[in-house]
Structures are given as structure tokens and as C-alpha cells.
């Protein structure tokens, strides 16, 4: 097939394509210039066909283009020209004054009366813009992360200073409270029973003891969120907390297998508090049972005992600060510790059937396999 026979039927077809198509012969004379490239370049088919491509676009005569186009015409493999390493193969201005980004392929075509190079130009301007937009969003996000890190660092520094100040203050107050309690106790021993003085002194002693408990609690509360949350195996945490209770009368039954939750490092205090409550106020607890329940929406850790259970009218206020028979701070602190990583706790037992604490853990904060 000759060059003319090859190009004639192509003319109409290539005008339908959304890519720019230009065919040149071995003298670089334009033999076909489709409608798309005509529209992009502003040069009509009539104007271009028969012209030497490198006379209209002199940059194509530079060795970097000329050599590679000639290599294709000489029988070499197709050549590709990327948008990053080359100026636009055929400059095509955009309405905003910019240039269309192009990816160009040059392919050889042998005919009976000569050789052709088919130049296919793809417009990748939009792709380029998308990448610039994505890069700018990434840079913005990285900037925000950097800013956040700076703020976190400053907050950590301030927090340390405040902790130091409150630690010193707590220490000084507790020293004074100890002196106060010591002297009040001595006075209590001196005063005869049944007197008004003794009654007033006992009120002072109770209030001072409460102040001591509350000041001691602030030390625990201060640690909340002070360290990064991490993954903790419930079985390990529960066994350790139980060992600290040191009870000979209660047996702990924890489900076997790996069940890790993402929580504040003070998680052990939660279990310590539940066990301590069972021991002190459980009403003859002999066994505490811990089980894991995986549901579709969340996972639940149940901590159940076989004691007297919790009175209905207590349940609502169980996790309030100051509510309870001892300091009233243990369960409040437990709730706060768990909330740091979106874990919640409730009491769902029945009076007379033992206490049943349910710890609700979002499934993205649960792992069933140990990971290094």
C-alpha cells in the first residue's frame, strides 16, 4: 500500500479521535493533521499539510527531538516524549495562557513508496492539574501535622510544668494534713467520750481524712492521658491487678486467649478498682469471672462476681465522682481512664445475683492476635 492509499481512508477516521494525530514522511513533511490537533494548535489542516513540521515548529529540529524522530523513521522502536522532560511537542495554548501538557508517541509506518512517522499527542493537562492539586493538599496536610506536633510538644511541656507544680503543692498539703491528723488523733485520745468537743473533733477528723483521700486521688488523676495509649492484653492486665489485691478468699477466672484493647496505660487501675470493690463491698464474693464477647458493632468485656450485687438505686450514680462507701473515686477514675480511648463502662447486674460490669470497646480498638 502506498502512502497516499494509506492516508486517504484515515483522514475521516482520525478526525473523530480525542487525541492529536499528525503523520509526517521521511522529509518531515506533514501528510495528515487531524481536527483535534488543528483545534488545539490553532493551525488548520489546510495550513499544515505539505509543510515541513520542523519549519513550523523549529524546536523539533533540536538534536534531542530530531535524533529520536529520525531513529524512528530509520526503523527504530517507537519513541515517547513525556511532559516532564520535554516542551510540548506541538505547542497548544490554553485559553488561560498556559500550555497543554502532552504525552507524545512517535511510531514508524512502512509503505511501499516510503516511510511515515505517526505522531500521536495525548492531552494530559487535567492529569497534571490533578497531581498539582493532590500535591498541594498533601503539603497542606503535612504542614498541619507539623503544626499540630509543635502544639502537642508545647502542651506536653506546659503539662509537665503544671504537674511539677501540683506535685509540690500536693506534697506540702499532705505534710500539713498529716500533722493535722496526728494532732487531732492525739487530741481525740485526750478527750472524754460523749462530749461536744469530741463530736466536733470527729467531724474535723473525718473532713481531714476526706481531704487526704482527695489530694491522694489527684495524684492518680494527674497521670490520666499523660502517656500515649497502647495495646494491652486484658488477661495479663487483670491477673496483675488481681495479684495486687492479695485476696485469699476470691478466685479470678479469666478467659484464655489473646484479647488486646487499645487503652490508656492506667487500664490496670480499672481492674484493680473493680476487684477492690468486689473485695470490700461485694457481699461475700468468692469468684470473679472475666469473659470477652465479640459483636458486630463492638466488643464487650464482662467482669462478673457472685456477691450480693449492686442496689438498683445505686446503679445510676455508681460512676459519679465522690459517690460510694469509700473515697467514691475509684469507679469515677475507671470511667475516665477508659473514656480516653472511647471505651465505656456500665453496671448491668441484678441485686442479689452479683455485680456485672460491662466494658464496651469499639472493634477498631480490639486485637485478637499478638503483634510485635
Amino acid at each position: 500500500m502506498s502512502i497516499a492509499e494509506f492516508i486517504r481512508p484515515l483522514n475521516q477516521f482520525v478526525d473523530l479521535l480525542p487525541v492529536g494525530v499528525c503523520i509526517i514522511d521521511d522529509e518531515k513533511k506533514v501528510r495528515l493533521w487531524n481536527r483535534t490537533i488543528a483545534g488545539w494548535s490553532g493551525r488548520s489542516t489546510e495550513e499544515m499539510v505539505g509543510e515541513h513540521l520542523d519549519r513550523i515548529y523549529p524546536h523539533l529540529d533540536a538534536p534531542r527531538y530530531r535524533y529520536r524522530i529520525e531513529q524512528v523513521l530509520d526503523g527504530g522502536p517507537p519513541a515517547v516524549f513525556s511532559s516532564q522532560l520535554n516542551a510540548p511537542f506541538i505547542p497548544c495554548p490554553l485559553p488561560d495562557g498556559g500550555m497543554r501538557l502532552q504525552h507524545t508517541s512517535v511510531i514508524r509506518q512502512d509503505r511501499t513508496d516510503g516511510v511515515l512517522a505517526i505522531i500521536i499527542i495525548e492531552d494530559i493537562t487535567e492529569l497534571g492539574h490533578e497531581i498539582v492539586r493532590a500535591r498541594s493538599m498533601r503539603d497542606q496536610a503535612l504542614g498541619e501535622v507539623e503544626e499540630r506536633k509543635k502544639v502537642e510538644k508545647a502542651l506536653l511541656f506546659t503539662n509537665r510544668k503544671l504537674n511539677l507544680l501540683s506535685g509540690i503543692t500536693r506534697h506540702d498539703i499532705l505534710n500539713e494534713v498529716t500533722v493535722l491528723l496526728g494532732n487531732a488523733t492525739f487530741l481525740d485520745e485526750l478527750l472524754p467520750d460523749g462530749t461536744d468537743e469530741k463530736k466536733y473533733l470527729n467531724t474535723i477528723l473525718r473532713s481531714t481524712k476526706r481531704i487526704q483521700d482527695q489530694i491522694t486521688f489527684t495524684s492518680d488523676y494527674e497521670g490520666l492521658g499523660g502517656e500515649e495509649p497502647g495495646w494491652f492484653d486484658i488477661r495479663d492486665v487483670a491477673l496483675k491487678a488481681f495479684s495486687l489485691i492479695g485476696s485469699d478468699t476470691i478466685t479470678l477466672d479469666v478467659q484464655e486467649g489473646c484479647f488486646q484493647v487499645f487503652a490508656d496505660p492506667m487500664l490496670e487501675k480499672v481492674f484493680f478498682s473493680l476487684f477492690e470493690n468486689a473485695l470490700r463491698h461485694g457481699g461475700g464474693v468468692t469468684t470473679i469471672t472475666i469473659r470477652y464477647h465479640i459483636c458486630e458493632d463492638e466488643s464487650v468485656i464482662s467482669v462478673t462476681d457472685d456477691g450480693a450485687g449492686i442496689a438498683e438505686n445505686f446503679r445510676e450514680r455508681l460512676f459519679e465522682r465522690g459517690f460510694g462507701r469509700n473515697t467514691g473515686l475509684g469507679l469515677f477514675l475507671s470511667k475516665e481512664i477508659l473514656e480516653i480511648t472511647s471505651i465505656s463502662i456500665e453496671e448491668a447486674g441484678r441485686e442479689g445475683e452479683g455485680a456485672r460490669f460491662l466494658i464496651h470497646v469499639p472493634n477498631d480498638k480490639v486485637r485478637r492476635e499478638k503483634q510485635s
Binding site: 534531542r64 531513529q71 527504530g76 515517547v80
Partner: protein, 203 residues
């Protein structure tokens, strides 16, 4: 088939000429002096996967593929390990290198740029082989992919997988040392023809 030292030398000479031409074009395009080291040539049989992995590793490569057909038929690849592809792209586009050792952050414009660099390397080598041997081939359009070498080889036709010529070269831009390889995968008959044509050209 095996290649003797003379045949391997002749092949290295041809690849070296092609790589030299490619270096010249790349230098002009980037405005930086780019040097390519004299390639080291290995011939590996396609079924010797252990040896392929020993020479090429199991990592992901940025690969430009070009099929050829004619007096000898096969597939040519220009491949860059992730680290080298990252440094190369950064060196020629001015983008920040990622240093992650993976190709995950590569976007279409990076791929397009690497495709052109790979295309220039393959064209240099194939052009040099066909010019000197006075033979003409028909080529596919180059394509880009990110895969381990073993998978690239598997994708070549089963009739081509018998022999793999590995030409290993290093590219130096701004004192950066970038590793790149050219693979020519071809069947026994095609390799036979290539070697015979090289001998004819030398005689």
C-alpha cells in the same frame, strides 16, 4: 544455549554503544551530564528462577516494556529498582525523593517520565543491535508497569522465556549512582539468530 566469552563480549559492545547513545540523549534532555557505565552482561535460562532472583532480587521494579518481532523475536525491558527510580525521578524533575524504598508514591506523571527514560535506553540498545546487524524489527508501543522481575518474565510469551540477557548498567547524574538494567528476553532460536548475526557482522 550458552554464549562463549567472545559472544558475550560482542553483545556487551553492542549494548554499550546503545547505552552510550542513550546517555547522550538523556544528558541533552536534562541539561545535566549523564554517564552510563559499561554494562555487565549475564545470560540466564528462563527456567532458572533461583538464579534470576539471585541476580535481580525479588523486589518491585519500575519497568518499561517493548516487544519486538522480526529476524529475532522477544521482549525488551528497561527496569529500575524502587530506590533508583525514586532518585532518578527526583534528579530529573526536581521533585523531593521519597526514600521509602517503594514505588507506592509514584503517580502517572512520574510513570510517564520513567517510561521516556526507559524508552530512550531500550531504543538506544535495540537501535544499536539492529543497525549493526542490518536487520529491521517490528515493535510494540512501550508500556510501563511496576512488578517483580519474575512476574515480568512470566508475562513474556512462553516461547520467549528460554533465555534472558541481563545487561546491568549504572547511571550517574549529579554524582548520584542510579542502578538500571536492560533485559532482553528471547527464545532459543531467536538468540541463535542474534548470535549468528553478531558473528557475521564481526566477520
Amino acid at each position: 544455549m550458552d554464549l562463549n566469552t567472545d559472544e558475550l563480549d560482542a553483545l556487551r559492545e553492542l549494548v554499550n554503544i546503545g547505552v552510550g547513545k542513550a546517555a547522550g540523549i538523556l544528558s541533552e534532555m536534562t541539561g545535566s551530564r549523564i554517564e552510563l557505565s559499561i554494562p555487565v552482561i549475564h545470560l540466564i535460562r528462563g527456567d532458572q528462577y533461583t538464579e534470576i532472583e539471585a541476580v535481580l532480587g525479588e523486589e518491585q521494579y519500575a519497568a518499561v516494556r517493548l516487544g519486538f518481532e522480526g529476524a529475532f523475536t522477544g521482549t525488551a525491558f528497561s527496569i529500575f529498582p524502587a530506590n533508583s527510580a525514586d532518585i532518578l525521578i527526583a534528579a530529573i524533575t526536581g521533585d523531593e525523593p521519597d526514600h521509602s524504598g517503594s514505588l507506592a508514591h509514584f503517580h502517572s506523571i512520574h510513570a510517564e517520565t520513567l517510561m521516556e527514560v526507559g524508552n530512550i535506553l531500550i531504543n538506544g540498545v535495540m537501535g544499536s543491535i539492529t543497525n549493526i546487524l542490518g536487520t529491521r524489527l517490528i515493535y510494540t508501543l512501550p508500556s510501563y508497569s511496576e512488578e517483580p522481575v519474575a512476574r515480568l518474565i512470566q508475562e513474556a510469551g512462553s516461547d520467549q522465556r528460554e533465555n534472558i540477557i541481563v545487561a546491568q548498567t549504572r547511571m550517574f547524574i549529579h554524582n548520584l549512582n542510579i542502578e538500571g538494567k536492560i533485559l532482553l528476553i528471547m527464545g532459543g532460536r531467536s538468540l541463535d539468530i542474534l548470535v549468528r548475526k553478531i558473528q557475521e557482522a564481526r566477520d
